[in-house]
């Protein structure tokens, strides 16, 4: 996959952006980490986190002007976290031996730092750590002189001396009482040293210096300037940041690399991290104990516990799939990219790629509009192209699609008595499978209401091929639909399934589309005698209808017209959740799809109404009373009878075949020549528990019939003397099916069935 494309996905995810406190801090203290450590009473860890960004923790921790605090998101729900007070608590209350600093291997280049304030000290510190020979020149008689004066109450002498011990430790040469321009000339300084950092103006300075704000370089080669010379001395942390910036520039200058590359996020910057405050209780700052101007450890811990620990995760909060893999999109994008690039080794992200419902809820939730499903869809296509798609992931639904689009199910006709079609009813393979009687009724309704001929097309729109990444297969299916649609005079497509609608909108944009629900609204609902309807229903919008506001609206309007009270689920409309079928999740990751469906059906005790046949089937399978909108329209949603059982995979196939034959016979008065195979006549006796097992294991009645037909024809079967049952296996497709059975009456009793994909050589021909 194109690197730029991957990058564009990765870049959109903001979860790894720093929180506002960190981004606002000129030296980017990991405030969130530090505060979390305090909250967990790990003060030493908090101190170490602080020291990673701050060179003189004892000093800065006491006097920092904390610009971070005003950026704190907590401030939008109560008081901002008292970050400065927490820093102070850490540096005051932790007695940690400072880790001994060992400079990098010594370098020969010499750097002069003019000015022993915070900026100069920081630059000297950072450069000495990198191994440069650093000389620090200070006019006064001691280092950090101005800080000592300005913060005499906050900064005990001992704290300053302890912090500055590192200067000696790093082997920095300190020349006190040395004024540049007085004791040493600026020119000789420039000659003697490879680079110079000025934090104070030299006495005999050659005119005004221009300072580049990004690099602190001046117009004199090798001379950099910053700190109070540039800032005044208002912000201690600003001075530290300038010293650090100068050190980075000098290091780059001495190494002969770009001074300017990738420095945008060096100082304070605007983070893109989004932090939701929904449900965050406003809390005031923890007060300091009586008569104290500092936090006790206990108080610090309580104050730190108020920290929101800013992160985004907006998409993860709403999507069980994103939650399931314990990461967030940025991580997933990297894993997907790695998976696609890797040639040898375990493709551990296959399951990640194939489990996504492609429903796009992440995009709705993401402040930056990241749609991970788009990437998963593209990744699937690439895996298929490279022959790297796990064969089992989508095998079953693709075979189901092939069946739906095979000769026993497909039908394309003009309305009887018409040679052209103004409209074409495309009920979709799943409605035909779960409720064929509704297809018959709807067709009857449409032919009565719509002028100019209403044609009918029974088949699958190709969504399983598209979802599984079989682009070529999908395009071939689409082409067939397109050819027939053109042949019929390009009629307006009437769609009962929002997935078909989504597919055609994207891939057959030249076709006029209308949802069945819009037509019911426009032409009136059919009158039904003795209609049974529940009084209260909760509407579940299909994920493929997420962006079909007009359809969602019409569905609700119809329900109200039918006399139902409506309940809105916590998420609906464009924020609706997938039922667990979208993107073929159910086949690639059954446990996750079960979790998704269960989560959805728990959202309300009310009976659900769906307008996607698969949503209905999925929820019904989990024991949730769910009606199809057509059940309500035709008065067959009876809340007083036991909930409908799911139709199941085998019955769904049979229903499609029967629907075609019924319509051919009753509408077009054509004679049916049944396409009987030797096995289809085999009668099976299957208990409900075995039927459940077949659903779970994706084993069809037809698969079992084929095994028995084969075993009985060839005699290749086992007899179990313990159970008294026969056992046979056969591999009619890419799966070997095992069936435990016995003849009973004119059929066979099925006791058990299972399957595997491994081949047994020679055992089955």
């Amino acid at each position: 996959m194109d690197h730029k494309l991957i990058m564009s996905f990765e870049e959109k995810c903001i979860q790894e952006q720093p929180p506002a406190c960190n981004a606002t801090c000129p030296v980017h203290v990991d405030v969130r980490g530090m505060v979390a450590a305090i909250a967990a009473e790990r003060f030493t860890e908090a101190f170490n986190i602080y020291c990673k960004s701050v060179p003189f923790p004892g000093i800065i921790g006491r006097i920092c002007d904390h610009p971070c605090q005003s950026a704190c998101k907590r401030g939008e729900a109560g008081d901002a976290i008292a970050i400065a007070a927490l820093e102070k608590a850490v540096v005051q209350q932790v007695e940690v031996a400072r880790p001994k600093l060992t400079p990098a291997s010594p370098k020969s280049q010499r750097v002069a730092v003019v000015g022993g304030g915070l900026s100069g000290l920081t630059a000297a510190h950072d450069l000495a750590k990198k191994g440069y020979q650093v000389t620090l020149l200070e006019t006064g008689s001691q280092l950090a002189g101005r800080i000592r004066e300005r913060f005499s109450t906050e900064l005990p002498e001992q704290v300053i001396n302890d912090d500055l011990a590192v200067i000696e430790q790093l082997g920095i040469t300190v020349q006190l009482n040395t004024g540049v321009g007085k004791d040493i000339s600026f020119t000789s300084l420039c000659e003697d040293y490879d680079a110079v950092y000025l934090t104070a103006l030299p006495g005999q300075q050659p005119g005004e210096l221009t300072i580049d704000p990004l690099t602190l370089a001046t117009e004199i080669k090798g001379v950099f300037a910053g700190g109070s010379l540039r800032l005044g001395n208002t912000s201690p942390i600003g001075s530290v940041a300038d010293g650090r910036k100068a050190a980075i520039s000098i290091d780059r200058y001495l190494q002969g690399v770009s001074l300017t590359a990738a420095r945008e996020q060096e100082g304070p910057f605007q983070t893109r991290l989004f932090t939701s405050l929904v449900g965050v209780e406003p809390l005031p700052v923890v007060p300091m104990g009586q008569d104290r101007s500092f936090y006790s450890k206990e108080e610090a811990k309580r104050e730190a516990a108020r920290c929101l620990q800013c992160q985004c995760l907006e998409c993860v909060k709403v999507c069980p799939y994103l939650e399931h893999f314990k990461g967030y999109p940025k991580k997933y994008v990297r894993q997907i990219n790695h998976n696609l690039k890797m040639i040898k080794g375990r493709h551990e992200a296959n399951i990640l790629i194939n489990s996504c419902s492609l429903c796009g809820l992440c995009q709705e939730a993401c402040p930056e509009g990241l749609h991970l499903g788009e990437l998963c869809g593209m990744a699937r296509q690439e895996m298929v192209k490279k022959g790297k798609m796990p064969p089992s992931a989508h095998d079953f639904p693709l075979r189901d699609m092939a069946f739906s689009n095979g000769p026993s199910c497909t039908l394309t006709r003009h309305q009887p008595g018409h040679t052209v079609s103004n409209y074409l009813f495309f009920p979709g393979c799943q409605l035909s499978a779960t409720a064929p009687e509704h297809v018959v009724r709807v067709y009857d309704y449409l032919t009565e209401k719509l002028p100019g001929g209403v044609g009918l097309m029974l088949r699958c729109c190709g969504a399983p091929a598209e979802w599984s990444g079989r682009r070529e297969l999908f395009m071939a299916e689409l082409q067939q639909i397109k050819d027939q649609w053109e042949e019929m005079g390009k009629p307006c497509l009437v769609l009962a399934c929002s997935t078909c609608q989504q597919i055609f909108q994207q891939y057959l944009p030249e076709a006029k589309l209308v949802s069945l629900w819009e037509l019911y609204d426009l032409h009136g609902l059919p009158q039904v005698a003795a209609a049974k309807r529940p009084t209260l229903v909760a509407v579940h919008d299909a994920c493929t209808a997420r962006h079909r506001g007009e359809v969602q609206e019409k569905v609700r309007k119809i329900l109200l017209a039918l006399g139902c009270r409506l309940e809105e689920l916590p998420t609906s409309g464009n924020k609706t959740e997938c039922c667990g079928y979208g993107g073929l999740m159910q086949y690639a990751n059954r446990p996750l799809a079960d979790e998704v469906a269960k989560r959805r059906i728990k959202q309300s005790p009310a009976d659900y109404v769906a307008y996607c046949a698969i949503c209905q089937e999925n929820f019904t399978a989990k024991g949730k009373r769910t009606y199809h909108l057509l059940d309500l329209i035709y008065g067959e949603a009876d809340p007083t009878t036991p909930a409908k059982r799911r139709v199941g995979y085998s019955q769904r196939r049979e229903n499609r075949v029967k629907l075609k034959n019924k319509l051919l016979k009753e509408v077009w008065r054509e004679k049916i020549v049944p396409q009987e195979n030797d096995y289809t006549a085999i009668k099976l006796l299957i208990s409900p528990s075995v039927q459940e097992l077949m659903e779970e294991r994706l084993i069809l009645v037809e698969d079992i019939q084929k095994v028995i037909a084969y075993a009985e024809r060839t005699g290749k079967k086992l007899f179990n003397h313990d159970s008294g049952h026969y056992l046979a296996y056969h591999r009619p497709v890419s799966v070997t099916y095992w069936v435990e059975y016995l003849p009973e009456g004119d059929g066979y009793r099925i006791f058990n069935t299972y399957s595997h994909r491994m081949e047994i050589p020679g055992g089955d021909e």
């Binding site: 080794g345 375990r346 493709h347 551990e348 296959n350 399951i351 796990p390 064969p391 089992s392 992931a393 294991r697 060839t714 005699g715 290749k716 079967k717 086992l718 007899f719 179990n720 003397h721 313990d722 026969y726 056992l727 296996y729 070997t736 095992w738 058990n752 299972y754 399957s755 595997h756 994909r757 491994m758 081949e759 047994i760 050589p761 020679g762 055992g763």
Partner: protein, 64 residues
């Protein structure tokens, strides 16, 4: 695995006996001891094996 003692190949009329079988998936071969008809080679793969270890291996091979 003592199931072979109670399993009989109905075609050959003999009890199954443990034997070497080479199952394959995605161009990978796995030699495995399975109850097998000594005459015609009809094998028995128990349910626990098919839905357990075998499934695991299939998944691992698919992700290779």
């Amino acid at each position: 695995m003592s199931q072979e003692k109670v399993l009989e190949c109905l075609k050959c009329g003999v009890k199954l006996a443990m034997g070497n079988v080479e199952v394959t998936y995605l161009n990978n071969k796995f030699p495995i001891q399975l109850p097998k008809c000594p005459k015609c080679g009809l094998v028995f793969i128990p349910e626990e094996l098919a839905t357990g270890k075998m499934l695991e291996v299939e998944k691992a091979l698919e992700d290779k």
